[in-house]
């Protein structure tokens, strides 16, 4: 199978998955007990007003018409309006995205900065104290809920260093330093568990690579140890680590949502939780679809990236 056909096939599959997700969300939201029109107008609205709002929302149409309209809107990027504020869902989500993306990206960066060196040290000093220390810390990281790390950071670093604000969010447009100072604690809380996972992955993948024939060859050629480790070893060892990036996203999401609550960040997580509490279903369903789309295409991207840096992988064969 040629590369273009493979990419096209995978993209179509990804679109199919998104389509099924959107349909599931459509069905799920329609099975929520209660009438959205009544929710908008409040409990004591009269029947005429409710009928008017139902007509406006298209709820008086047959189900297949509603479905077709919903899919049509979705394809054009229209996710509907918030029940309470009337704002377009898409703009609410975009508005809440910056803090969340900041925490996520800084968190991943922190995780990688800690984990890759820790994993390399762990592998090259196998069964020595450095390895045990790195392994112990990594396991601790994997075992802590992000929001709890957040609380601990808040109580320790947050109170000890007044220069680090422990509440809210400063947009990046107000300067890199205030932004970073505000993001660093939540990002660390989100990043540490992932640092744990990546450390363990880097270690095992590095150990495997260190035992490969080409490493022996490189040593036999008399190459300097540094070149062997970084050029021959690390490059190959990081391949499987890259694939985790897609999986990481799912894990990060739960962490970020909870950490936003700890630090009072008005991000995507808070929007989501608030909307559930207020039963603002258009926002909930829009968020679910947006996250699924990011999720599916991120995974596709990682797969293609992995394939392009590892020529041994054949297109099409999964097993």
């Amino acid at each position: 199978m040629g590369i273009q056909r493979y990419v096209a096939k995978r993209t179509l599959q990804a679109l199919l998955v998104v389509y099924v997700v959107a349909t599931t969300v459509f069905v799920a939201v329609r099975s929520i007990p209660g009438d959205p029109a009544r929710l908008i107008l409040g409990g004591d609205a009269d029947a005429d007003a409710i009928a008017a709002v139902r007509a406006e929302l298209g709820l008086d149409q047959p189900m297949y018409v509603q479905y077709a309209r919903w899919m049509g809107d979705l394809v054009r990027g229209d996710l509907g309006e918030s029940i309470f504020t009337g704002e377009p869902v898409a703009s609410r989500i975009i508005g809440a995205a910056e803090p969340t993306l900041s925490i996520g990206l800084v968190g991943i960066s922190i995780a990688i900065l800690i984990a890759i060196p820790a994993g390399i040290i762990s592998a090259t000093r196998r069964d020595q104290w450095e390895d045990y220390a790195a392994t112990g810390v990594a396991f601790l990281g994997i075992s802590m809920p992000s929001f709890w790390i957040g609380i601990v950071l808040l109580l320790t670093v947050g109170t000890a260093i007044p220069a680090i604000p422990s509440y809210g969010y400063t947009p990046i447009s107000e300067g890199i330093v205030p932004w970073l100072a505000n993001v660093i604690l939540p990002a660390t809380a989100v990043g540490l568990p992932y640092a744990g996972i990546i450390t363990r992955m880097t270690r095992s993948s590095m150990l495997e690579v260190l035992g490969e024939d080409y490493m022996q060859t490189a040593r036999a050629k008399g190459l300097p140890p540094r070149v062997i480790l970084f050029k021959h070893g690390l490059q190959n060892a990081l391949l499987p680590v890259v694939t985790v990036a897609g999986i990481l996203f799912a894990l990060l999401l739960g962490g970020i949502v909870a950490v936003e609550m700890v630090f009072g960040v008005q991000g995507f997580g808070r929007l989501l939780i608030r909307s559930i509490e207020r039963q603002d279903f258009p926002i909930v369903q829009g968020s679910v679809i947006v996250i699924s789309i990011i999720f599916v295409f991120m995974n596709l991207f990682v797969d293609l990236l992995y394939m392009s840096i590892n020529p041994k992988i054949k297109y099409g064969g999964e097993a």
Partner: protein, 303 residues
């Protein structure tokens, strides 16, 4: 791997679900010498016992409110872990909370495992169109991160233990399905499977008695790792207030209630967190020791 792994024949070894128990002797030897396994298993057993015997062991009624001692600090004489904002004993609440936190995770991962392994087994064994269809279905499941499944279930059905269990179980089906399928693909061409087909055993019997026992090691490791992760997921949902009912004292919910009191009563949010960390760490270490003992090659800490 030889023909003697087959689920029939005249050997008289003890079997459990078609798995020869003498295969676990080596495992037991490896585990008893491993500090990770010892620590992990001991911790988990202690917490499980505390959960089971909560009614006998808990010093106080977890719901009893004592307004005279609201937010009593930890290590105060009668309340080793202090009290919450209603004067309820935190230790007792945590012991009862352990029942929910451990129970929900175990049940959820078991359901995910049964469904996922079933799907993976059938997909891998039959291959072709069946494989394609089932794995596309698994792809769709995978596209819903657990948090979103939980959110949708809460939106549609309201809060409750079974919604949390369903959300976590759903989210882990794809992990088990992919792993089981991968194992089956490498096993199904083995001679003993072909032999079983030649003597006319039914597909169901071959899958359950021949293929599954040989794929069991990585699945057990996966199970352990996911129970640890399920506990974190459950605590996150409870913390966010979309888990089990807010009045139920799960570890995550206790933490969530302590959040607004961080300034006055730090122990309410710190101590239940330590319980979560120690338990999850115990399970993770035990899982890692199992991975070493079974000699399962695979990604560390990732599904």
């Amino acid at each position: 791997m030889g023909a003697d792994y087959g689920g029939y024949g005249s050997d008289d070894t003890t079997r459990l679900f078609g798995v020869r128990l003498d295969r676990f002797d080596r495992l037991r030897e490896t585990l008893t010498g491993d500090y990770k396994a010892t620590f992990g298993l001991t911790t988990v057993i202690l917490f499980v016992l505390a959960a089971i015997f909560a009614p006998e062991l808990a010093p106080f009624d977890p719901m009893a409110q004592e307004y005279a001692i609201m937010q009593a600090p930890s290590l105060s004489s009668a309340h080793p872990f202090g009290t919450d904002s209603f004067g309820r004993d935190l230790l007792s609440r945590m012991m009862y909370g352990a029942r929910i936190s451990l129970g929900v995770s175990l049940v959820a991962v078991t359901i995910g495992a049964v469904v996922g392994i079933g799907l993976g087994l059938v997909a891998g064994y039959f291959g072709g169109v069946v494989d394609d269809a089932l794995m596309r279905f698994v792809d769709v499941l995978w596209a819903f991160p657990w948090l979103l499944i939980a959110i949708m279930l809460v939106a549609v059905f309201g809060q409750g233990v079974w919604n949390v269990i369903a959300a976590i179980a759903f989210a882990y089906i794809d992990d088990f399905a992919r792993l089981a399928r991968g194992e089956v693909l490498s096993i199904r061409e083995e001679e003993f499977v072909l032999a079983a087909k030649n003597i006319g055993l039914s597909d169901t019997r071959i899958m359950i008695e021949e293929v599954l026992p040989n794929a069991v090691a990585p699945l057990i490791v996966q199970f352990t790792v996911l129970v640890a992760r399920a506990m974190l997921a459950e605590s996150t949902l409870s913390f966010l207030g979309i888990g089990v009912k807010p009045t139920t004292p799960t570890w995550g919910a206790l933490l969530g209630q302590g959040r607004s009191l961080i300034g006055q009563a730090w122990w309410i949010s710190i101590i239940p967190g330590i319980a979560i960390v120690v338990t999850v760490l115990g399970i993770n270490l035990f899982g890692d020791a199992l991975r070493d003992a079974f000699d399962v090659r695979g990604e560390e800490g990732s599904p």
